[in-house]
Subunit: 334 residues, 2 copies
């Protein structure tokens, strides 16, 4: 296409929009049998238990170490399906582009999105593009909706959690939040902390054979502490987290210490929190540690019948309550 920047005409349904879709989205995103000129896509389906999930993405800046809004839009939705025990199959994509956005940059982001979709084994089957007036958008917003299928007999959820169950996390927490924060260069800080943004399907699939697997969730906005609060709200139990057991990269901890952030509240985009029966916790940990994305996995705590709070057992033998998140020190991280 001849244009280098998005104009309102790229969103009006006419020839410029067709050109944009054909040359940017069709090229990178859709298999050749997907007709981007129809609004709905037919899907053949063999299973009966379908899972759907949807997510919007407004991360600022759009690119950061270890990913960009395109890969993030795939991982976010694919991971929401994966933690239910489903295998993701299809994605739809909504794109809101601000007038004046550089097309080369858009193309890079769409390529990144396409790679992430291929790596996760999902097909993008439908999409829609809108252009926002200059000044009425933060460059680019995305929304993805995913459809997956899962075994009808699989029963995972907070309702299965029992006192004494173990809590595991698949890797270091907080990397995504800090990577995005550093990309903003707001505090004059620089660093090589890479986002953990990734597809967690290998991690979730590895635990599915365990009968003692109760529940999985990806600790995104609000981080590990928020998943723990959701557990306390949905069950009669509380949780005790061992501070020294939670994997946190030294570099992440250093930035947190400097700026007064708490890594337990920072978003991850490629981690899984799992609750597993105590007698299978070691097996679950071994499954995870055998995977490339699970080498830092750890058993970090226990479900407790004694309280309905989230208690962090500190290095020095004290206890600290992790409160429910109110104000987010790092908004717009996904």
């Amino acid at each position: 296409m001849d244009d280098t920047h998005i104009s309102l005409a790229h969103g009006n349904g006419g020839c410029f929009m067709r050109e944009l879709i054909e040359e940017i989205f069709q090229q990178h995103l859709y298999s050749s049998d997907v007709n981007t000129q129809v609004d709905a896509m037919s899907l053949s389906w063999a299973h009966e238990h379908i899972v759907m999930s949807t997510d919007g993405f407004t991360v600022q800046p759009l690119e950061f170490s270890g990913g960009d809004i395109g890969s993030l839009a795939v991982h976010g939705t694919v991971n929401d399906l994966a933690v239910t025990g489903a295998r993701p199959h299809y994605l739809t994509l909504n794109v809101f582009i601000e007038e004046g956005f550089e097309i080369a940059r858009l193309e890079n982001i769409v390529q990144s999105l396409a790679r992430a979709a291929t790596d996760a084994g999902v097909s993008v089957v439908a999409g829609d593009t809108k252009v926002l007036n200059r000044g009425e958008g933060g460059g680019l917003y995305l929304a993805t909706t995913g459809v997956g299928a899962r075994d009808r007999d699989l029963d995972l959820g907070m309702h299965r959690i029992q006192a004494g169950d173990k809590i595991l996390v698949s890797g270091e927490v907080g990397n995504h939040g800090i990577a995005v924060m550093l990309a903003r260069e707001q505090f004059g800080l620089r660093g090589d902390i890479c986002s953990d943004s990734a597809c967690v399907l290998p991690l979730t699939t590895a635990l599915l054979p365990l009968e003692g697997l109760r529940f999985m969730r990806d600790p995104t906005r609000g981080g590990l502490a928020t998943v723990m609060h959701e557990l306390c709200a949905a069950t009669p139990y509380g949780v005790q987290i061992e501070q020294t057991a939670v994997p946190i990269a030294d570099s992440v901890q250093t930035v947190c210490d400097m700026l007064g952030y708490d890594p337990y509240y920072l978003a991850c985009e490629g981690r899984v929190v799992a609750v597993v029966a105590a007698d299978e916790a070691d097996a679950a940990l071994a499954h995870w540690q055998a995977l490339p994305d699970g080498e830092n996995a750890a058993i970090i705590g226990t479900v407790s019948a004694e309280t309905q709070q989230v208690i962090l057992c500190t290095e020095l033998g004290g206890e600290r309550f992790l409160q429910e998140l109110e104000d987010d020190p790092l908004p717009r991280i996904c």
Copy 2:
């Protein structure tokens, strides 16, 4: 909830966001068995042929005569499914809200969305909310993704179109575009033109029994002329439209004449264009005219083997080419 305006904390995954979802979205949108605190929703499914569609909505202003961005977000996606011959079942919803947006206004829009979903017979099964910094959003953007099911034996599409087929439209064109334009009060114009925004499922369902039904589409962005251009691009044929046969409200034509707009390019959000075998065109028309939303339906033209262009046969016996849309006189109408 105590707040009257959206703050960034409403998008951070913590307690304010939970409150917003529970008190605004859960209340209006989801049946009581939908858990809004999980990211993905399981769906039982009996059919095997699934259709998906997705659409973003950035209409300005958010409210207009005959609808708002909420009802529009349902109609847009439901109609994309309906014109494939599918029955829509499920919707997911993405909400991008600008910081400072009035919560009472948000609630009105969500209520309108919920009513439209109920009327169309679809359930909203998953959603996600993001808050945009003040000045980085046009108040509210929505994206909806729909899933429907259709008869495996149904074969509709441009590939079935033959020379001599008749082209029908289910009602007056251009009402939505002009209603939104008037709501902007840009030109000092006022009027009582009401958007045609509606669910077209009764219209599409009515034609499905006809063996001669070739193809249906809703003429949204780019209007009737754009659907006709899509037909010319996808088939070896052209179309001849009889100007006097196209239903256009006098009030819409008057505004178009004053401002130099062409009603053939204006968006509809509750109309269907159908291509039907010539010998069943009268039957199709009768089916539509028997419906409340089809009383102004008309046979407006013919598929022609002689040209690949869109020709408007004018009142005075002349011919005018309707060119492909380049620049849109009315952006942001959906």
